[in-house]
């Protein structure tokens, strides 16, 4: 298998936009190609993530649409849908495409538009990623899914609402250092704890926002990468799945797919959790960050809440988590999120993250979770 590198990244401002998701992706892709110093004509394939285009934009076939809007209509294009992990799944397949020798230059990314519909509508569309007959009929929401995880974690390990709130405070603080973030304002522990209940015990500030945005990456073979200014190498990219139904999961305080994907990624790269310098992980809800830091092996099961509270995951801490502000403050345009996380880690490993730079970061990890914890992707990156 050939080595694969990321040589270009592009991310739109996250927040509310009045452009289509294809237009948002095209902006990010143009930035990524400029960053890679490659013309659009160099792209040989597009791997694209988009989730609720069918609902919010009445648009399917979003892969070729995105390629057409970008102006590269003839390249092979596939749209991936693994709920919130879609563009990370697209990334993994793009890596395999290049590693296998099929392509030299591949564009990866995704985009989402949801702020053009009401919160009730988007809450319903996101719930489509849970089971229609067994879960949606009960009125289960995504905050509801992670509220079940939170209650189980609290019951088993004594994790507190204040520990969860500490994740929100930390990620909002990081978000103030990211000019692309949807929220660039600090919040206090008290504000989180006093915010409106969404799905007990998760409050408004425990939840990431609805977001419009796009992200893109240029992936190339080692041969092409050697001519690039600052390639960042893909050391591993692994996926794992788990039972779709909440009721089939034996222990709601854990996310086994994270543990399996992380084990596979560490094995591929010949690395372990202590080798990682910077992490972008899937904090769709504050409890999701706590459970992910445990599943990735950064902390023991049950210690994730304490780690957040003690500042071990803050910039300047033992292992900085979500220096971008994470999904919580940077925003969560679901089809774009995986690619945006990778863009942040690439920027960190280049030493180009400005005020949010993790000093001397050499190894970075991205973790993206899809839906009801049934899909997880973990990738590892390194610099020369």
């Amino acid at each position: 298998m050939r080595r694969v590198a990321v040589i270009g990244v592009g991310v739109t401002k996250f927040g509310k936009h009045d452009r289509t998701s294809a237009e948002l992706f095209a902006e990010a892709a143009a930035d990524a190609l400029a960053d890679a110093e490659l013309p659009a004509s160099a792209v040989q394939a597009l791997y694209y993530g988009n989730v609720v285009g069918g609902e919010t934009e009445k648009q399917l076939h979003t892969g070729p649409q995105a390629a057409s809007v970008l102006g590269i209509p003839t390249v092979p294009t596939t749209r991936f849908e693994t709920a919130c992990a879609s563009s990370h799944a697209a990334f993994r397949h793009a890596v395999m495409d290049i590693a296998s020798g099929t392509s030299e230059v591949v564009l990866v990314g995704g985009a989402e538009r949801v702020l053009n519909v009401t919160t009730e509508e988007s809450t319903e569309y996101f719930a489509y990623a849970s089971d229609a007959r067994w879960e949606q009929t009960l009125g289960l929401t995504f905050p509801g899914v992670f509220a079940l995880v939170a209650r189980a974690h609290m019951a088993r390990y004594g994790t507190t609402e204040a520990q969860m709130a500490a994740v929100a405070v930390k990620n909002h603080k990081h978000g103030t250092l990211n000019p692309k973030a949807q929220f660039q304002k600090e919040i206090t522990l008290e504000q989180v704890l006093k915010s409106a209940m969404v799905a007990d015990p998760l409050k408004l500030y425990d939840c990431c926002p609805f977001t419009d945005g796009g992200a893109a990456l240029v992936l190339v073979s080692e041969e092409v990468a050697r001519k690039a200014r600052r390639p960042i190498w893909v050391l591993a990219s692994a996926a794992a799945s788990d039972w779709m139904l909440i009721s089939d999961k034996r222990d709601l305080s854990r996310v086994p797919a994270t543990e399996r994907a992380a084990a596979a990624a560490y094995r591929q790269a010949g690395l372990g959790p202590t080798d990682v310098d910077v992490v972008e992980l899937h904090d769709c809800f504050t409890i999701a960050e706590i459970v992910a830091t445990e599943g990735l092996g950064l902390f023991e099961p049950g210690a994730g809440g304490v780690a957040a509270e003690k500042g071990w995951t803050s910039l300047g801490g033992k292992i900085p988590v979500n220096p971008s502000g994470g999904l919580k403050a940077k925003g969560h345009p679901i089809g774009a999120t995986g690619a945006a996380q990778i863009a942040e880690v690439v920027t960190q490993l280049r030493g180009a993250a400005d005020r949010r730079q993790v000093d001397g970061a050499k190894i970075g990890l991205t973790h993206t979770l899809g839906g009801n914890t049934a899909t997880v992707l973990v990738s590892l990156f390194g610099r020369d």
Partner: protein, 126 residues
């Protein structure tokens, strides 16, 4: 073609009558609900239907206050993952239990919730 031992439709038809049905693997004894094609433990296809008592305890719960469009008029409502006494789990709405009394470990009993011709899993006081 091999006929499934129990389909999703059969499960909810029986549930509507007040009876929960699981499947036991005739090879390794694994208990499973809802229906699956192969046993996730031994990959065999020797399921036998088995009735559940309907009794269990809350393993985790939430109170939904921001709902999808179709359920917006019902908030606040409680959803719980319930560990059934036989060892399997089911997700359901909790009804007739004051929201402030909900806690992990609370014993509950199955009851069908029928609305608009569709049955959903519900739990009430034990």
């Amino acid at each position: 073609m091999t006929e499934p031992v129990i389909t999703q439709r059969h499960f909810f038809e029986k549930a509507r009558e007040g009876q929960l049905t699981a499947m036991r693997c005739g090879h390794c004894g694994e208990l499973s609900v809802p229906p699956k094609t192969f046993c996730p433990t031994c990959s065999q296809r020797r399921w036998e239907p088995i009735g559940l008592s309907g009794e269990g305890t809350i393993a985790s719960y939430t109170i939904i206050r921001v709902a999808p469009r179709a359920h917006a008029a019902e908030v606040p409502y409680a959803i719980a993952a319930v560990h059934m006494n036989e060892g399997v789990s089911l997700l359901g709405r909790v009804v007739d239990v004051p929201l402030e009394r909900l806690t992990v470990g609370l014993p509950v009993r199955f009851r069908p919730l029928v609305s608009g011709g569709q049955t959903a899993v519900g739990f009430g006081p034990a």
